[in-house]
Symmetry: C2
Subunit: 350 residues, 2 copies
């Protein structure tokens, strides 16, 4: 009839009181150990930790939030048409948040909905969130930034492109990554490399183009305006732009699209003309979207550490919230060049 063992621990949740009783200390002392506060003797600390271990105790977030100012909850708002990008953000943030004993709440917002700032204020105040993570394009929206600044809680911005001093920025060096991809193509022997730009007017678009130009310059290849087409990040624009490039008398042997969706369009355009990838034309993308590996042929691209950026953002917000003295310099994470089968040596004769 002894049921206090395995079954019970499975079904009932142990509380700080249970731990205190087992370790024969007060609940406050347990709290001190859990929160890693000072003024607990090493001996007591050990005993408490053993009890925690034995009972598999984890503090209850809701109870924690009732007292004090912290709520142990972080918010992630987004309005990004790309589900796999946003999903990666969620995964990354969730993992980091869990490590720290926090919880994540997320909320889709409409960028063009009015009252965007008010919506964020509402979310943060009602949810009593300790901090917020804001990916693009919301992280560059003036009303969002205004609301966040007023709230006086830490917030992190993923890949911000303006007002870089506001909040804590986590980004990737778009320019360097684009340059690396361009170098990769040059090393394969390509000299005429077409470039498909992203949506006009975004910092991302500018940075990637700059990287492309810098790598060309470094290799002593003259920049040719005719090889640059204006896309808009959608697949269709990739198809149209690639068609234009392939129609040139002096056709490029490689096409570098500013994102994977447009690269997918380029792949179709090339193959519709009966040309082979990468035998006749190499194609490269940017993002390493979930679809990149599934394309035909699998796409060479730049992996953005999306999940890692979100995780870093979450950790930094928590860190700041623990110790507001901490310096929160913005951070740049590394990209990764993912070489698959859509790029290869330039054709021998042209």
């Amino acid at each position: 009839m002894s049921d206090g063992e395995s079954l019970d621990t499975q079904v009932r949740r142990s509380t700080i009181t249970d731990v205190a009783r087992l370790a024969d200390v007060s609940i406050k002392t347990v709290s001190r150990v859990v929160r890693q506060e000072p003024n607990v003797s090493e001996e007591t600390r050990k005993a408490v930790r053993a009890a925690i271990e034995q009972l598999n105790y984890r503090p209850t977030i809701s109870a924690r939030s009732t007292t004090g100012s912290r709520s142990f909850m972080l918010g992630l708002v987004f309005d990004n048409p790309n589900p796999s990008y946003t999903f990666d953000l969620l995964i990354g943030a969730q993992q980091a948040v869990k490590e720290q004993g926090y919880q994540l709440v997320f909320e889709p917002l409409e960028r063009n909905g009015k009252g965007l700032g008010a919506a964020i204020t509402q979310l943060v105040v009602q949810g009593n969130l300790d901090g917020v993570i804001v990916p693009p394009p919301l992280c560059d929206d003036p009303s969002v930034l205004g609301a966040l600044s007023k709230l006086g809680r830490p917030f992190a911005r993923i890949a911000p492109s303006r007002e870089l001093t506001l909040g804590f920025g986590v980004s990737m060096d778009d320019g360097a990554a684009a340059a690396a991809m361009t170098r990769h193509l040059i090393e394969l022997g390509h000299r005429r490399i077409g470039f498909i730009k992203g949506r006009a007017g975004t910092a991302t678009t500018e940075n990637r183009l700059r990287g492309y130009r810098e790598a060309l310059a470094a290799a002593g290849i003259p920049f040719d305006e005719a090889l640059v087409q204006q896309g808009d990040f959608q697949m269709r624009s990739g198809l149209v732009c690639a068609d234009a490039l392939l129609a040139l008398a002096d056709m490029p042997t490689a096409i570098f699209a500013s994102n994977d969706d447009m690269a997918a369009g380029a792949l179709i355009a090339v193959q519709r003309r009966g040309l082979h990838v990468p035998g006749d034309v190499s194609v490269a993308g940017f993002d390493d979207a979930a679809t990149a590996a599934a394309m035909w042929p699998p796409l060479t691209t730049i992996r953005q550490p999306v999940a890692e950026m979100a995780a870093t953002a979450a950790r930094k917000v928590i860190e700041y919230q623990r110790d507001p003295e901490a310096t929160l310099d913005s951070v740049q994470l590394d990209y990764e060049l993912v070489v698959r089968e859509s790029t290869g040596a330039a054709p021998q004769r042209r």
Copy 2:
């Protein structure tokens, strides 16, 4: 110097006490109104509601969870390789949960990790979750089902394919949807319709094939074994299977793939042969993945109401949790035939 107005309400969160004071009732009465409990006069109810409105009051989830057995939190666990599917689930569940004043926590799990059941038990017990939503493939995993049954909390399964009496099921009629797509092709004049099956051994695969066969039979078209290929839901298999179909002496004029990824492969296979879609061959998919509309040409497919299924699951779990007497019959939601440009009239002469 009067600061009690707009600014203050923005930055401070109003509590049940504020509302009670303003409406000149006890906090318990406010609680009754909010929880829609009986025994409050219509007059009082109105006054309280007005106060709630004025102060923009929303109950604090953490405070709620401390008392009583409810935690007002639902869990969503998943292990699905398809980010956009999972993302849709998250969006749908989050929206439903928010409507009901609940919160959603999600957790990626490794299907083949050992201790899957233990992991779920841990998650639910530690998080004190009121219920769980389990999409495929986890919803058919025996250890997951075992753990959930033991926990004694309501759980909903998205598109389950076995043990249908366990938990609350939310699904879509795969067979009817596949039949509808097949009818669509028949109405366009197609008589030889190739079919690419999904991964062997899954209920989904069987159901979709059955729908295809039934629609053929209903139209008096004989079933031809040669027109059915075995795929595995991956794009590459779609490409290979379509190649096989197109190599037939009596080539099909339409190809129906059991999901969009394989349809993408089929699109490539057709166009690589210099054939036009849909002029020479129509191609249809299943799922309405995010990529479907971005393919070339945009893919005719079946829209699965993924977000809606998750929302229904969430609502049902909450409903049950509010009133355990409620009957929770499983539910089937409607699919939608999305006709885009990859299907068209069968070629006149073959």
